[in-house]
Symmetry: C2
Subunit: 193 residues, 2 copies
């Protein structure tokens, strides 16, 4: 249930964002969305064509938010290592998992280009930015020559996404934190300092 001040569309979108995060696409029903938004059936179908349409809007918004948050860390001040560490250490609410990564598991999302696009784009951009930061670190002499920056960037992203998986499986955030420490330990060995 959201502020009565907020526009109906926005309440519907936010409810959908939350439910997709918690329960995934298959597990999210229009009725549940309406109830959480405090909105009736007719209202939802007036503003959106149906569940896929609303989900697409919710995923687009989540993608924007996630990209903005990650960008803030990755493009912050500091060395390449520090910026990657900032990104890795930012992650929060580990047991809720990643809003975008979760969607990658859902066959109905993967099968629908409109739903998959925000997910693919989010990881594509993050990957690109991380690879740039690593390449800059190399160029500056901060990092030793070694594995392809694109490969390292993928490994960093994977540690985060996999960390979420391990944490949820374990019922505790500890595996996520271990994985991040492990990855940072390995990256630290790449520094010339």
């Amino acid at each position: 249930m959201y502020s009565a001040r907020m526009a109906t569309q926005d309440r519907l979108i936010e409810s959908t964002q939350d439910l997709l995060w918690e329960r995934g696409y298959v597990g999210t029903s229009p009725k549940a969305i309406q109830q959480r938004a405090g909105v009736g059936q007719g209202s939802m179908y007036h503003h959106f064509e149906g569940k896929p349409d609303l989900a697409a809007a919710a995923l687009r918004r989540s993608a924007e938010q996630l990209q903005a948050a990650a960008e803030a860390d990755i493009s912050g001040p500091g060395t390449a290592y520090e910026r990657i560490a900032a990104y890795l250490n930012r992650e929060r609410e580990v047991l809720r998992g990643c809003r975008m990564g979760r969607m990658a598991q859902d066959p109905d999302v993967i099968a629908d280009a409109r739903l998959r696009a925000p997910v693919e784009e989010t990881f594509g951009r993050l990957h690109g930015r991380l690879a740039e930061v690593i390449a800059e670190g190399r160029a500056d002499g901060e990092l030793v020559p070694g594995p392809d920056p694109a490969d390292l960037a993928a490994a960093v992203l994977a540690v985060v996404q996999g960390g979420y998986v391990l944490a949820r499986a374990a019922g505790t955030a500890e595996p996520f934190r271990q994985a991040v420490r492990g990855a940072l330990g390995l990256l630290a060995a790449q520094r010339t300092v």
Copy 2:
């Protein structure tokens, strides 16, 4: 549809294993299981109490199979690095994702101790074995002193699980392979050789 030779229970369990992998727990209906197994309603409810019971049996079996496969790589011949590389490079059918990791996303699985146990146990054992191998590599002088073996083991596991996520999001196996190459590149730098 499975061999008519196979016992009804086994056909039901295998159908369930496949469907849980493809569609997750929420996305898997008793009817779909029966159809894939070529078995009627009554038959399924004769052998199993219901969907949760059947899912528990399927997850237990998948857990055994996954653990055995991973154990074969991790405990094979070679140095610590080579055994980890064997594990990382073994992964297959990347776009299908991990049968166990997928379950970690499903709230109904996570919430039910009986369903979550096989998932938790699988990752727990894999983590333990990987940490042992890394610790052995340290003790043998193959690997330089560095991050906690438990942290490195978690990072390795996370790279695999996260690699699956990135690959499915991208619609191609490439991100998985990049992440594995990146992780192996970082691990290679830990060798004393």
